[in-house]
């Protein structure tokens, strides 16, 4: 094998065969003998003191082993805000809040008993609107916020509902507004959405009498699950083992702690028997965490020549009852406010606010999708006001690598990527200057629009990764990684890099499908599109380490200086004299001389990665270096808008990203296509609806719409730019989340450019679009209805 046999090639994901043959095992498949089944009992009211919980009749149901309440496990848990409970203690904070847990021999018994748990509530005033929740007399969700263990980079405001207040000040916005010729002022809203992973949240936990815990869970990041449980419940890290088998999708919704600590405590409480908790889709919607809602108010100033000279924005996040992870989303939303542009004067405030609704958490895009929805539309509106082409206004403001500073004051490195080339490729992909096709009907509008985006992982500066590379007897390789595998194919891409490092076939490199905190190499989390980058670099270092050991041994055996040797084509070779070579197989488990004397032994390489470039952000101004890379990209769409029904159909999608190096173009294309579809589904359909008590009204996929196959555009263009990043693995950058960030903005921009109708609220459902058209451009709707009703344009009836 040559040194570039696999990197850059379309290698199919390593888990394909198991997945398509149904042999991939998920947490749900773990049926340990003696397993008990747990069932949540959840609050029926949004905000109330718990006066009394009667358990007798539930306990009397045959098969019920225990009914647990918050009193049995009064822990406060969490990673960033540290605000969560395992079961409600003293009060409930949303309709759906778990108040008790039935543990039974069968699920049927658990379900039956759950109906018999009787909770007496003393109702408290509730608040559902995040803006109202910030008012002085709003009911408080967390009275003792000051006691919570917040991570150092968050700024809660005790005595209010504000879980985090992020501030960014760059330049002087008021001065900037003074220089502006045109202002854009808008309010944007984003609805709560569900991650809609196929596999609902589920966990199997076993506590042992020796004080250890084993937990199988459908999670993205086993090490952080262990960290939270250990730190919150005061159990040493090495007494907890988290095992993650195949995962049926995460999208950020399984990034932090889910139900692992609850199941573990339940296992202990019932006498050390395994406990399995599987959420139904309905429970996942109404008791699990979703993506937060947002209300954003923005004011931006532009000069006549298109320069954005001031940008002032406030994001209010509807974080729900618990904001453990959402405080970090609010931070990312804040520091990403300026996207791909250089704006001299920026002021941003981003507030995560508690309300009596479902808790919220990370989701693919992590604040960047939300800030992009605001920013990219502001630029489109400004372009129209200034009579300027959408591409031109962006060129005027784009960050210039090697020169510009971001809104957090970070100097944009030369090797960060090429935003101009990205923009150019987006425009070419959609044939921006070409003629827009005619709509299929006179009451429809055909239009093009685009949006740009950028993102990096939102991780603490000390977040690290590691990799262990073990040779087997036959010189095949077991690569030990910690980065999660829930569909991205990161392990495949990293295996390709390893294969090329040793000049062996990619099939010779194996990554175990199960992640296990006791066995896997440490990685902080599998979030933020960081896996390929951070764990990839760690792996390349592990390869170097292993190669060093191999070359040391070969040098001894071949009696040649190390500097004259290289690892290539599955062997050690003398440079320039390839006939002098020893196959790896004869080295990686020690070299055996003809008389049996052996030197060396099993080779194990190790590598780690921790960025040395990141800093905390200044608490007052948000200045600093928050991410390890910035992936630039953009989306363009060609849409057809039905003015009569408000339905938007995407005819063509173009996705362009500067990935540094396309390690696996097939996986990359799958991310770009999949990300588009997810982004489009959220853009056009998805919305968790709440009633006046904060109940989720559509906790299933018949009333919570997701895009279907029929909604997917027929014409799909995925392109990439390769501007290598010097500290990336072979120059690569992350891509996973990126691919959905600019989708909604691109669609909305297409509508605005062609009709002047502003779509400020997500989703752009047919009803939402119809309402916008009828209120903003009634004449447009009237005209459309007119042509719709005209007989000459009638479609032919079916015979």
């Amino acid at each position: 094998m040559t040194a570039d046999a696999f990197v850059g090639k379309a290698v199919p994901p390593e888990d394909t065969v198991r997945k398509v043959t149904g042999t991939a095992l998920y947490t749900y498949d773990w049926e340990v003998p003696g397993t008990l089944y747990a069932k949540l009992v959840t609050s029926t009211v949004p905000h109330a003191k718990i006066v009394r919980i009667s358990l007798e009749s539930a306990k009397a149901v045959p098969g019920v082993v225990a009914v647990l309440t918050g009193k049995d496990m009064p822990f406060r848990v969490g990673m960033y805000a540290g605000d969560r409970d395992l079961l409600a203690v003293e009060k409930v904070r949303w309709a759906g809040h778990p108040v008790a847990l039935v543990v039974a021999e069968t699920l049927e018994a658990g379900e039956r008993a759950s109906e018999l748990v009787d909770v007496e509530y003393e109702t408290l005033p509730a608040v559902f609107d995040p803006v109202k929740a910030m008012e002085a007399d709003a009911p408080l969700l967390h009275e003792r916020m000051e006691e919570y263990k917040h991570a150092p980079v968050f700024y809660p405001v005790p005595g209010t509902n504000i879980a985090n207040r992020f501030r960014l000040v760059h330049g002087d916005v008021e001065k900037g507004f003074g220089q502006a010729d045109e202002l854009v002022e808008e309010e944007f809203r984003i609805s709560h959405v569900s991650h809609a992973y196929l596999e609902t949240q589920n966990v199997v936990a076993q506590a042992y009498r020796d004080g250890t815990y084993e937990i199988w869970t459908s999670a993205q990041s086993p090490f952080v699950v262990r960290q939270i449980i250990s730190e919150s419940l005061n159990i040493p890290y090495n007494k907890i083992t988290i095992r993650v088998p195949f995962v049926g999708g995460g999208f950020g919704g399984k990034a932090g702690l889910q139900w692992e600590a609850l199941a573990a405590m339940a296992s202990k409480a019932v006498g050390y028997r395994p406990v399995k908790l599987v959420l139904s889709r309905k429970e996942n919607f109404s008791s699990g965490a979703s993506r937060e809602g947002v209300v954003a108010n923005v004011k931006a100033g532009f000069t006549k020549d298109g320069k954005c000279v001031a940008y002032k924005v406030r994001f209010v996040l509807d974080a729900g009852a618990y904001a453990d992870y959402t405080v970090n989303v609010s931070r990312a939303m804040g520091y990403s406010a300026e996207g791909v542009y250089e704006v001299p004067n920026v002021q941003c405030e981003s507030l995560a606010v508690y309300t009596n609704k479902v808790p919220t958490t990370a989701m693919r895009g992590f604040g960047y999708s939300e800030s992009n929805w605001v920013l990219e539309q502001v630029f489109e509106r400004a372009a129209k006001k200034l009579g300027m082409d959408s591409a031109k206004i962006r060129r005027v403001n784009l960050l210039r690598p090697g020169e510009s500073h971001t809104a957090t004051g970070e100097k944009v490195r030369e090797d960060v990527g090429d935003p101009r080339k990205v923009l150019q490729t987006v425009l070419e992909g959609i044939d921006w200057d070409g003629k827009v096709e005619r709509p299929s009907e006179p009451w429809k509008v055909r239009a093009r629009g685009f949006a740009l985006c950028v993102k990096g992982p939102s991780q603490p500066p000390n977040a690290s990764s590691s990799a262990i590379l073990k040779f087997n007897e036959d010189s095949t390789i077991d690569l030990v990684l910690g980065t999660g595998n829930f569909g991205q194919g990161t392990a495949t891409a990293i295996s390709q890099m390893v294969a090329d490092q040793f000049g062996v076939a990619v099939e010779k490199v194996r990554v175990d499908p199960v992640r296990d905190t006791g066995k896997s190499a440490y990685t902080w989390q599998t979030v933020g599109s960081r896996g390929l980058f951070t764990d990839g670099v760690a792996t390349l270092r592990a390869c170097e380490d292993a190669k060093g050991q191999i070359l040391d041994l070969a040098s001894q055996v071949m009696r040649l200086p190390k500097s004259e040797l290289e690892v290539a084509e599955g062997a050690v070779k003398a440079k320039g004299r390839p006939w002098l070579s020893i196959p790896l197989r004869e080295l990686v488990f020690g070299y055996v001389y003809p008389n049996g004397n052996t030197v060396g032994g099993p080779v194990i390489g190790r590598g780690q990665y921790t960025s040395s470039l990141n800093t905390y952000l200044d608490p007052q101004t948000g200045q600093g270096v928050p991410t390890i890379f910035h992936t630039f990209g953009g989306t363009a769409v060609d849409i057809e808008l039905d003015l009569v029904t408000g339905a938007i159909e995407v005819k063509k999608a173009v996705q362009v990203f500067d990935v540094g190096k396309a390690i696996n173009p097939l996986l990359l294309k799958m991310q770009l296509d999949g990300g588009f579809i997810m982004g489009m589904s959220i853009a056009l359909f998805e919305k968790i609806k709440f009633d006046e008590q904060g109940w989720v009204m559509n906790p299933n996929f018949t009333s919570y719409y997701l895009a279907r196959m029929k909604d997917v555009p027929k014409d799909f263009v995925a392109r990439y730019v390769e501007t290598p990043q010097f500290d990336g693995p072979l120059g690569a950058r992350g891509i996973g989340e990126l691919s959905m960030i600019s989708v909604a903005s691109a669609i909305s921009n297409a509508v605005f450019r062609s009709t002047g109708v502003k779509l400020n609220n997500l989703p752009m459902s047919p009803e939402e679009v119809w309402a916008a058209i009828s209120s903003q451009k009634p004449e447009l709707l009237a005209k459309a209805m007119e042509s719709y009703g005209r007989v000459e344009t009638a479609v032919k009836a079916r015979q």
Binding site: V41, D711, E767
Partner: protein
């Protein structure tokens, strides 16, 4: 207690698979209110999981030969056995002459569900947004019911009494649906969906006869708790499908059809959709 049903498992029940109508009726008689008939089970099983229904006896009629037939009854019309799947009905031109029903059924759910679900089940489910009831009402179809006391036939319009409420007594079974002879009936169906297959609004239209004896039925589904006819819209096109009449019918329907606000759509949007689909369906019929 939690909000709504906490269940994902099925309640306990005995499963019966009768091989004749008599056997099915005997089981129904024996178990009375405790029994539920199952066609495709698409709805029933979901309802049972939600504990909206907890029958102790489930009587699966898929192997009852009398219910598996589609028969032409001279002088009456087409009788569709209750255990015939939607997919089977859509094959081989069975529904020729009943365009409105064929179009409605062709847009029910997806191919997987259509090959399990039955027309009778779709009708008996009587949830406001299912598609067959408006079409059946427009065609003047009736429901054939058998019980221990004999058989009876009721028009579909009366059979659906309210949301998830039908005129069927314990011990009774729907054996079939009778579509009157279509002679010369021009009919069509339209629905609007957003995201999923379920209608936000649907309309079924049937025009029978000509000249002065022309009869018009315009039935709206998914906009209200039960299918609703709109007499004013029917009136508007009674003397023919002209551009002006179509416009008037669409305006009337949008004004008169009572629409509800629910989790799928607002009443205002539904009213607008009523106008849109009325225009669309009538316009198609004009050019037919």
């Amino acid at each position: 207690m939690s909000f709504g049903s906490p269940y994902v498992t099925l309640p306990d029940f005995a499963y019966h698979r009768p091989k004749s109508l008599d056997e099915a009726l005997a089981l129904l008689k024996e178990h009375g209110e405790e029994a539920k008939v199952m066609g495709g089970g698409v709805g029933l099983i979901a309802f049972m999981k939600e504990r909206l229904m907890s029958p102790a006896h489930v009587i699966d009629v898929k192997e009852v030969p009398e219910l598996r037939q589609v028969r032409h009854v001279p002088g009456k019309g087409l009788s569709i056995g209750a255990a015939v799947s939607i997919k089977e009905l859509l094959e081989g031109g069975t529904l020729r002459g009943y365009a409105v029903l064929e179009e409605a059924l062709a847009r029910v759910a997806d191919p997987m569900i259509r090959s399990r679900a039955t027309l009778a089940g779709n009708l008996c489910e009587a949830i406001p947004w299912v598609d067959s009831p408006p079409a059946l009402i427009a065609l003047g179809a009736s429901v054939e019911i058998a019980g221990t006391g004999g058989t009876r036939e009721v028009p579909v319009s009366g059979f659906i009494r309210g949301p998830v409420d039908i005129d069927l007594n314990p011990g009774e079974i729907v054996t079939g649906i009778m579509l009157p002879d279509p002679k010369g009936t021009l009919s069509a169906f339209e629905k609007f969906t957003a995201g999923s297959e379920f209608s936000l609004a649907s309309v079924a239209v049937a025009l029978a006869g000509g000249g002065r004896k022309r009869s018009v039925a315009m039935v709206y589904g998914a906009v209200s708790s039960t299918p609703v006819r709109c007499a004013e819209a029917e009136q508007a096109v009674a003397d023919g499908l002209t551009p002006a009449n179509v416009r008037r019918a669409a305006d009337m329907a949008s004004e008169k059809v009572e629409c509800v606000d629910d989790v799928l759509a607002s009443a205002a949007y539904r009213r607008h959709l009523v106008k849109v689909i009325t225009t669309r369906v009538l316009r198609r019929m004009m050019s037919a």
